[in-house]
């Protein structure tokens, strides 16, 4: 088990390193920062002085080393828009975004998994078809369209909820539902196929054949095995949720990381964009490592197998 954890953590660190390097490479490949920041009329000596002051005249690997050193020390530069450090600007938005994503994730799981399992147990029934049809519609309608439909119906026509902004719990309802439904649709489809896969296994037939009552076959044999497959998709769900947050926050003017990212991209506030990139990568990696560890605990077969994979 210790080796398994060590391999997981090493790979997580490697991924962080890849993301950090990705940001550096993309930033340098996008052109000379001196030319991008200074006006074209700046005299050549001033450009040279600027390059010297920011270490841009050093060889690329020295710049990379300095950059890594700064990142390790939590120095990600300053926001060009309000002059504070990028980390501060991003950090104050994190709890605001979590207020949306945490309930949305719970909604995902509470709707998606039961619906998918129910559909699998009633395979080919009308209920199954209806659930699957709703699920297909749910993940093909873009989240921003769904959000705008909700605004039109529940904020403009019925005036039950505010159409945007942050405030009391009423501001949360529409964005959380918008985020939750799309994810629930994906999860319902996946749970159904995971459950069907398990139900087709010989041990289910064996349990049925030796006279175990069907409800106990489902709860005792099918569900635990389907749960292992479902664990794998939770990482994917979190990624989806982060991408969905960017759009949904924009629709509902929710002042979280997503809106910040959109504004920063539009104004090319690179330090903030880079900081958000790292925060998202860290969130994804934490999720995936946690899932991997839980996975190893739930299913002892995987410990040896997966740690030896590469």
């Amino acid at each position: 088990m210790a080796r398994f954890i060590a391999v997981r953590l090493a790979r997580a660190l490697l991924t962080i390193a890849v993301v950090v390097t990705f940001a550096f490479v993309v930033l340098r490949a996008s052109g000379d920062p001196a030319r991008a920041l200074l006006s074209p009329e700046t005299p050549a000596e001033a450009v040279e002085a600027f390059r010297k002051a920011w270490g841009l005249d050093a060889p690329l690997w020295v710049q990379y080393a300095r950059y890594l050193f700064a990142v390790v020390h939590g120095d990600l530069g300053q926001s060009m828009r309000d002059g504070r450090s990028a980390i501060t600007v991003v950090a104050e938005r994190i709890p605001v975004t979590l207020m949306l994503t945490a309930p949305a994730l719970i909604l995902n799981l509470l709707i998606g998994i039961p619906a998918g399992i129910y559909a699998a147990l009633k395979r080919d029934s009308i209920a199954d078809r209806v659930v699957m049809m709703v699920a297909v519609v749910g993940f093909t309608v873009p989240s921003f369209v769904l959000g705008l439909v909700f605004v039109l119906a529940f904020a403009v026509e019925l005036a039950w909820f505010p159409s945007g902004g942050a405030g009391g719990w009423r501001h949360l309802v529409l964005p959380v539902i918008t985020l939750g439904l799309g994810g629930a649709a994906v999860l319902a489809r996946f749970s159904r196929s995971a459950m069907l896969e398990v139900l087709g296994q010989p041990y289910i037939r064996a349990a049925s054949a030796k006279g175990v009552p069907w409800p106990r076959v489902v709860t005792g044999h099918a569900l635990p095995n389907a749960a292992i497959a479902l664990m794998t998709i939770v990482g994917f769900m979190v990624g989806n949720l982060i991408a969905g947050t960017v759009l949904v926050e924009s629709v509902f003017s929710w002042p979280g990381i997503g809106s910040l990212l959109v504004v920063s991209v539009a104004s090319r506030d690179l330090a903030v964009v880079q900081c958000i990139l790292l925060v998202v990568a860290a969130a994804m990696i934490t999720t995936n490592v946690t899932i991997d560890l839980l996975y190893g605990m739930l299913d002892p077969r995987l410990r040896e197998l997966r740690s030896g994979r590469r």
């Binding site: 993309v26 519609v137 990624g239």
Partner: protein, 292 residues
């Protein structure tokens, strides 16, 4: 997988009715996609006006049936531009971008998948590492970061969207090519002295093409959603060019006064992704059940 294990078996008449229902839905989906294809080809002839032509006397005109006139059957927007004309051109641009991006992703992914299957060793490990990286990051965020660093141009935008989903093709192609490499026909061709590129292009590709086509069909809606999402945020297709996501993004400011500006493009996006998903699922069930 027997249906007994799932608890109950449906009477056959019910099964047949369900199948009819599904085939009917597929028929409608195919018809819708055919219509979209016609719009892509004949967009400029279908559009009654130039998509950028202003008509300031008829700003925010209502569509036909809501008090509007035949002059602007789908209404007009805040600058008096004809919504029907903009819709037709938007459909053309959005779908062409999606086609182009899908092709880029497929060619890149298939090439890398074949390279991984052919060379194995460290080449395969590097490619698999990239696959893991791509699969673990939400692509929308990566795409936004690249747009922030490089600024926006149509060419970059199409290429960027093309990068979305390449890892699916790479994974599928690698697995299929590796198992094909073990099969007798490939070994035979190889023994006859065929060069690797000939083996992959002439012999293995035709055998795995059907699976790859299904993968492409299943990836296509994601591409449309990504493009329209970025354009909706104002960070994708830039004006004066228009796209479906763009129309929704601009129409949002007139949500209460002129909802038709965004209703029509929203409907087109949703119906198109829905139709392709239905057709993709159906193809998968027909051709290759192992994909999911």
């Amino acid at each position: 997988m027997s249906s007994i294990s799932a608890g109950r078996v449906l009477p056959s008449s019910k099964m047949i009715r369900l199948r009819w229902w599904r085939e009917g839905a597929i028929g409608i989906a195919v018809a819708w996609l055919g219509l979209m294809l016609l719009v892509v080809i004949f967009a400029d002839r279908l559009a009654p006006y130039d998509y950028a032509a202003l008509d300031l006397h008829h700003r925010l005109a209502a569509p036909l049936g809501l008090g509007g006139t035949i002059a602007h059957p789908f209404g007009s927007d805040e600058l008096g531009r004809d919504v029907l004309s903009r819709l037709a051109i938007s459909i053309r641009i959005s779908l062409l971008i999606a086609f182009g991006a899908t092709l880029i992703g497929a060619v890149l992914g298939i090439t890398l998948g074949i390279l991984a299957a052919h060379f194995r060793g460290w080449v395969e490990q590097v490619i698999l590492g990239c696959v893991d990286f791509q699969a673990s990051m939400p692509f929308l965020v990566l795409a936004l970061a690249v747009l922030a660093f490089f600024g926006n141009s149509l060419l970059l935008f199409v290429g960027l969207i093309g990068l979305h989903g390449w890892e699916r093709y790479a994974r599928v192609t690698r697995a299929l090519a590796m198992s094909a490499n073990e099969q007798a026909y490939v070994i035979a061709v190889r023994q006859l002295g065929a060069r690797p590129w000939r083996v992959y292009l002439r012999h293995i590709m035709p055998n795995i093409a059907s699976t790859l086509i299904v993968t492409m069909t299943l990836a296509f809606p994601d591409i449309i959603l990504l493009e329209s999402g970025l354009s909706f945020l104002g960070l994708g297709v830039q004006p004066p060019l228009t796209s479906l996501g763009n129309m929704v993004g601009y129409g949002r400011d007139y949500l209460t006064r002129a909802p038709w500006i965004l209703v029509f493009p929203s409907l087109v996006i949703s119906l198109t992704t829905l139709s392709i998903s239905l057709v993709g699922d159906w193809l998968r069930d027909r051709i290759d059940k192992t994909l999911s």
